[in-house]
């Protein structure tokens, strides 16, 4: 069982190494996610955000604009998940009155 575990881990490592080797280099401006339009000619969202974030929200930190404004629903869900975790812990651990 232990050898099987090690073989599986090694296989996973090889798969991950091959997958990482296929990625574009870090900071490559020719990478598909950094272009203004992808191979089919459709505009890429990242370029739009970079060009318009300051003009839309007058906030220098682009990440904050994307997280809080363009993706506001996402952040609402994130906060709700944390709140739901607190509620779940409360319902599981609080002593019931006899």
């Amino acid at each position: 069982m232990k050898t099987l575990n090690r073989i599986l881990l090694l296989a996973l490592g090889v798969v991950l190494a091959v997958a990482v080797a296929g990625l574009p280099p870090r900071g490559d401006i020719q990478a598909p996610s950094h272009l203004a339009a992808n191979a089919t000619g459709a505009p890429v969202a990242g370029a739009y955000y970079i060009q318009n974030a300051y003009r839309h929200a007058r906030t220098p930190n682009m990440v904050t604009v994307i997280l809080a404004d363009y993706r506001g629903f996402d952040t609402l869900g994130e906060t709700l998940v944390v709140f739901t975790g607190a509620i779940a812990v409360l319902f599981i651990l609080r002593r019931r009155t006899p």
Partner: protein, 153 residues
């Protein structure tokens, strides 16, 4: 934990660290528009300062820092600040969470978006901070340890 730590090193170190961590948390929250950080990180930092106080000073002595029992309600208030900002934009004529339509006169849409981002970051900060403190308090105050441990030993 429930009793205060007996080590004077931990007591003094955490009493000195807590205000610094709180100050850094507030800085991270208010400076989120201009530098890395924002609501989530600031809220976690503020919660960590309170939880360090609970860990070192004990549950009773740390009540002066933050009273336990009100954390869950304030967490709901944080989420409600967020949702209320979205609903205010809805009242102003735009879509849900479209801060450009917040009903505040005298500001152009970019300034309104700036204000809306600050409001929802405040909601996220309060929500996350109070949720973490609530989880901590519930774990400390629950009394189920003996039966759970008996199954392992």
């Amino acid at each position: 934990m429930r009793e205060a730590s007996t080590s004077p090193i931990i007591q003094v170190a955490i009493r000195g660290l807590m205000p610094v961590i709180q100050l850094v948390g507030l800085y991270v929250f208010f400076h989120g528009h201009y530098s890395p950080g924002g609501g989530f990180q600031g809220g976690v930092l503020l919660a960590v300062s309170v939880m360090l106080g609970r860990l070192a000073l004990g549950l009773e002595m740390s009540q002066v820092v933050f009273r336990s029992g009100i954390a869950v309600g304030l967490s709901a208030v944080g989420v409600m600040i967020y949702a209320a900002t979205g609903l205010a934009a809805l009242l102003g004529g735009g879509e849900f969470l479209n801060y450009g339509f917040l009903p505040i006169p005298g500001l152009d849409p970019p300034a309104l978006r700036n204000l809306g981002i600050l409001l929802i970051e405040a909601g996220v900060t309060v929500g996350v901070m109070m949720a973490l403190i609530a989880i901590y308090d519930e774990i400390v105050e629950s009394r189920t340890e003996s039966s759970v441990l008996a199954t392992f030993e």
